[in-house]
């Protein structure tokens, strides 16, 4: 197929626009880092409180050399992955149960709403007492935050099933299991996939919150530890790590989502 001149111009314009946006973003980041470094070195801002890019890099290097950096990152990533997959699978299973038993759904609905609107961090101290001051408590914390959201999203996706399609399958003699397998779950695929993104954001919040409350390892621990010893270089390093990590993880989930949606 030949592309007309105007079409080519249009594509060129699109490409140009993308480049402009990208370079502006890069310039903003570099400019910000430069300004930060400059202000800190000229003592315009107090480097003890605000740290600086060079100090952060130095801190990260030290942490890397003594081997604790990778441990912290690995700990946080594994907690995120465990909480994420547990949240998604439990959310999915519970959504199926609620869909299959409407009476049960009616019974638990107000409780779910209550739990959903409760600031979960309030439960932190209890979780530590019940689950112990360990990784389990962090996972439970993250699950509290991501599970209800995924459950409600997926459940509502199931409820949106087209009644005409349900009737069609029933006219073929479909039972509940067949309805779920052929219609209810496949038609909610888009909802389920988009709940992944929601879930990962919630998981990040939950894991870091959990690490704040109870941990000996992890990026959240790094931040809290830095605050306690009033070493803002460590705190800032932790935040920078977290920004990069969440950006990467979110990017991965977005990529997976796109691929899944592409295959219809």
């Amino acid at each position: 197929m030949s592309i007309s001149n105007n079409q080519q111009l249009f594509l060129k314009k699109l490409k140009k626009e993308r480049l402009i946006v990208f370079f502006t973003q890069v310039i903003i980041i570099i400019g910000f880092l430069f300004l930060w470094e400059f202000c800190a070195s000229k003592k315009i801002i107090n480097p003890f409180i605000f740290s600086s890019p060079s100090r952060i890099i130095k801190t990260l290097k030290t942490l890397f050399v003594d081997g604790s950096l990778l441990t912290h990152i690995f700990t946080t990533i594994s907690e995120i992955l465990i909480a994420f997959f547990l949240g998604i699978s439990l959310g999915f299973i519970l959504a199926v149960v609620l869909y299959e038993f409407p009476l049960l759904a009616k019974v638990v609905e107000p409780f779910l709403t209550m739990l959903n609107s409760l600031p979960k961090v309030a439960l932190g101290p209890i979780i530590i007492i019940w689950a112990g001051a360990n990784t389990k408590a962090i996972i439970v914390m993250a699950l509290l935050i991501n599970l209800i959201v995924s459950l409600l999203t997926i459940y509502n996706g199931f409820l949106g099933t087209d009644i005409i399609k349900i009737n069609l399958l029933k006219s073929f003699g479909a039972n509940k299991k067949v309805l779920l397998k052929y219609l209810v779950i496949p038609q909610a695929k888009r909802t389920i996939i988009s709940s992944l993104k929601l879930n990962i954001s919630m998981t990040l919040i939950g894991v870091i919150m959990g690490e704040f409350l109870v941990s000996k390892k992890g990026i959240g621990y790094l931040i809290i530890y830095g605050t306690q010893v009033f070493n803002l270089n460590i705190v800032m390093s932790g935040i920078v790590l977290l920004i990069i990590l969440s950006f990467l993880i979110y990017g991965c989930v977005s990529f997976v989502e796109k691929q899944l949606l592409k295959s219809n």
Binding site: K165, L169, F172, G173, Y182, Q187
Partner: protein
Amino acid sequence: MNKKLSIKNLGKSYYTKQGEIKAIDDLTLDIYEGEIISIVGTSGCGKSSLLGILANIEEKTKGSIEFQEKESTIGYMLQNDALFPWLTIYENAILGLKIKKKLTKENCNYVKELLKTYHLEEFANKYPNELSGGMKQRVALIRTLAIKPDLLLLDEPFSALDYQSRLAVSDDVFKIIKKSKITTIMVTHDIGEAVSLSNRVVVLSKRPCKIKNIYEISLSDDPIANRQTQEFNNYYNMIWRDLDVNIE
């Protein structure tokens, strides 16, 4: 003509907080082998409930439905094509067979044959969103025919289509029904459709619906040509008057 099924004193009520809604009250009707019978009535008069009950989707409140044969395969076509967007045209077409666990090689070939007949062969591996409304409706028809029904229930099956495709698709459906002599019950609010396609037209009163009139239609086997005739207009006017009285 042989009886295909008898509907006796059928009643259907829906229960809501506000009270009982009687959709159908004491409906008695015989359906004959091979006929095309249309049921017309104002909207919400319980016509669709009747098909729902016949298709085993809804429970009846009272009365009985007796089929002459013990084993009867019912094909049900609904208001819209209800194709599954995540399945290909072919997968959609064999959906009924799959659920009924009748996915034999012979039946698959039959579906392929049907797709060929309706010029949908080259679309077999495409998805519904790539097809026009009329084509999708034909796929829905193939999905219904694939299970080889001996009773066809059509619930305003062309109402989602534009006028042109509507005439074309209903012409297709009519030809198939005529050729295979499948007993057909069609529910519609389109009097023209009912008169041009059917052997009999049953006019229902408004809720709770009762039979108001039954018209024997004697027109040709060409639904589009039927619409041009004087008799068509006569039937049309009579039925329209029947329905009009009920609107008030």
